[in-house]
Amino acid sequence: MFAIEVHELTKRFHQFIAVNQVTFAVREKEIFGFLGANGAGKTTVIRMLCGLLTPTSGTAKVSGYDIQHEVFQVKKNIGYMSQKFSLYEDLSPLQNINLYAGLYRLSNSIRKERIDFISHRLQLINTNSKRVKDLPVGYKQRLALGCAILHQPKILFLDEPTSGVDPSARQMFWDIIYEEANYGTTILVTTHYMEEAEYCSQVSIMDQGKIIAQGTPKEVKQLVHAKTMQDAFLKIVEKARS
């Protein structure tokens, strides 16, 4: 059973083709990594899958729902952490979380339970008197992740969740991502830290709007006889561009 099925998805902005006939599928409970340089088209794919952008052509299903004709159902089943921080900086962390809880229609008892869980797991305690803008970057990222998983989505989209986070906090992030996958959440995550690709069960390398390699991290490395993911990535991109 696939959580995400993408078939020849294309997005064109005027003359520029941001995503070019991308096809892939993500199995349920999988951690699927999207690798690529900035501007490769990863974010555009995610934004289409979340219903924020309409594809120029091609189709995609998220949790069994068509992203163009059943957007509302898609939105109910996903959590999204955008690359650009998008919480309300003038509100406190708890006020932001409560907004999410309301938008995703959580009942009061579930809301309390989830807030408890998230604040402990993400160490978000004792900061509710402050506004989000007065908090350090790492904390903001944790809060954004907490909001994205608050309603226990079936599918979680994380767009560069670890950018700007220090290495120790990055480890905590991946621990949580693993935990969520263990609970049964399917995760699609983009990153440009190649070593993070090792955490994924499947990876897909994008360059200039196209998917140029796909498989488990091991398979991708073997493809070009590389030892590290970093090495494999550079070789694959070089080969694709020549």
Binding site: K75, I78, S82, L87, D90, L99, L103
Partner: protein
């Protein structure tokens, strides 16, 4: 309903969390009302007059006394002896009017011995008002003189046999311009506040990126719009209430009609304004752009709303254009309900126009909004 409540709570928290903004929003209507009401003053008071009296008879002194007995004119200096020094005062803007009484003021021999008046026409409104008062005074003075001549047996009939109108002013017996401007300023205030708030609402979220959070959530477009607009509606209503309190208690403007009629009009008007704001929001990429558009539209609608000048005095083509200016209808409603005690039954066409223009704008905004997001 839960998502809507969450959105309203968020808007409320954002308003409260920004005390500086809150203070501005509450203080602005009061300060603007106080200052604007005093600044916009069309009545004439204490025009500075330089008088050169070549006559020096009792007759001419009585005329001058009569002139300065009113509040309309004040002397620049009592002792101006020559024409040239009066002109000098006039040129240095010390005097706004020069009156020259000829030598034979009391016993004119021919037409050339008339009283001469020079008036500063830069402020055409002040000048024509001043001249009007002066002419009325001269006419009165003439009548008294003729009556005197009659008493002296020089004239055969009484001037009191002529017609004298008895004037009664309705709706504003003292012709206090504040009664005219205070309701207008109230309309002006909510126009500015509501259009600005809703004009930057969506753009602001887009600019700081928080719109993503809302767009990716499972809420309908209309919920997003209602979530924005309802808090602004209540805030505008609250601020209008404050302005009314100042208008009624401080300026003592009467309120003869019913609050329901005002509320009904304001609600229709706010429906238009908030839709207009959303429409502007879809046309702009940045908050600055939205602000610019708001001001551009506002200035045009203020000038053609009848706030300063009656619409009936405008050229025909401009009058035709004001048909699509909702502010015009709101001005009429607020003024007529407050001062005349009119009700929506007499003013129904204004209410219909407000509702119609609001509906058209709302449809346009929703249409643009959908287009924009795709």
């Amino acid at each position: 309903m839960r998502p809507l409540l969450a959105l309203w709570k968020k808007e409320l928290l954002q308003m409260i969390r920004d005390p500086a903004m809150l203070r501005v929003l509450i203080a602005a209507p009061i300060i603007q009302l106080l200052i604007l009401s005093y600044a916009i003053n069309t009545e004439l008071k204490q025009m500075r007059v330089a008088i050169v009296n070549y006559d020096q008879s009792n007759e001419s002194r009585r005329f001058i006394e009569k002139l300065f007995a009113t509040d309309y004119f004040v002397p620049v200096s009592i002792y101006i002896s020559s024409y040239s020094s009066a002109i000098q005062a006039f040129m240095q803007s010390e005097a706004e009017m020069v009156i020259i009484l000829p030598e034979n003021f009391s016993q004119p021999q021919n037409e050339n011995q008339n009283i001469q008046i020079i008036v500063d026409g830069q402020h055409s409104n002040v000048a024509s008002l001043g001249l009007g008062y002066l002419q009325r005074m001269v006419a009165q003075y003439n009548l008294q003189r003729i009556e005197q001549m009659k008493l002296d047996g020089k004239l055969p009939f009484s001037i009191y046999q002529t017609i004298e109108p008895v004037v009664r002013v309705w709706y504003n017996p003292n012709l206090d311009p504040k009664w005219f401007f205070v309701p207008g300023i109230c309309v002006l205030l909510i126009t500015i506040i509501a259009t600005l708030l809703s004009g930057i609402a969506i753009v602001k979220e887009r600019e700081i990126g928080t719109i993503e959070l809302l767009l990716v959530a499972p809420i309908r477009r209309w919920q997003l719009i209602i979530g924005k607009i309802v808090p602004f509606y209540f805030l505008s209503l609250l601020l209008l209430g404050l302005a009314f309190i100042v208008g009624l208690l401080w300026f003592r403007v009467p309120f003869i009609g019913s609050w329901f009629d005002i509320w009904l009009g304001v609600t229709l008007y706010l429906f238009f304004l908030l839709s207009l704001g959303l429409f502007i929001s879809t046309l702009s990429k940045t908050q600055a752009q939205a602000m610019f558009l708001v001001w551009f539209i506002l200035i045009f609608s203020i000038l053609t709303s009848g706030f300063f000048f009656p619409v009936e005095n405008m050229p025909k083509w401009l009058q035709t254009m004001t048909i699509v200016n909702p502010m015009k209808y709101m001005m009429i409603i607020v003024r007529c309900v407050m001062l005349k005690g009119a009700s929506w039954i007499e003013l129904w066409d204004n209410y219909i126009m407000l509702a119609g223009l609001g509906l058209i704008t709302a449809i346009a905004a929703i249409f643009r909004y959908q287009q924009k997001l795709n």
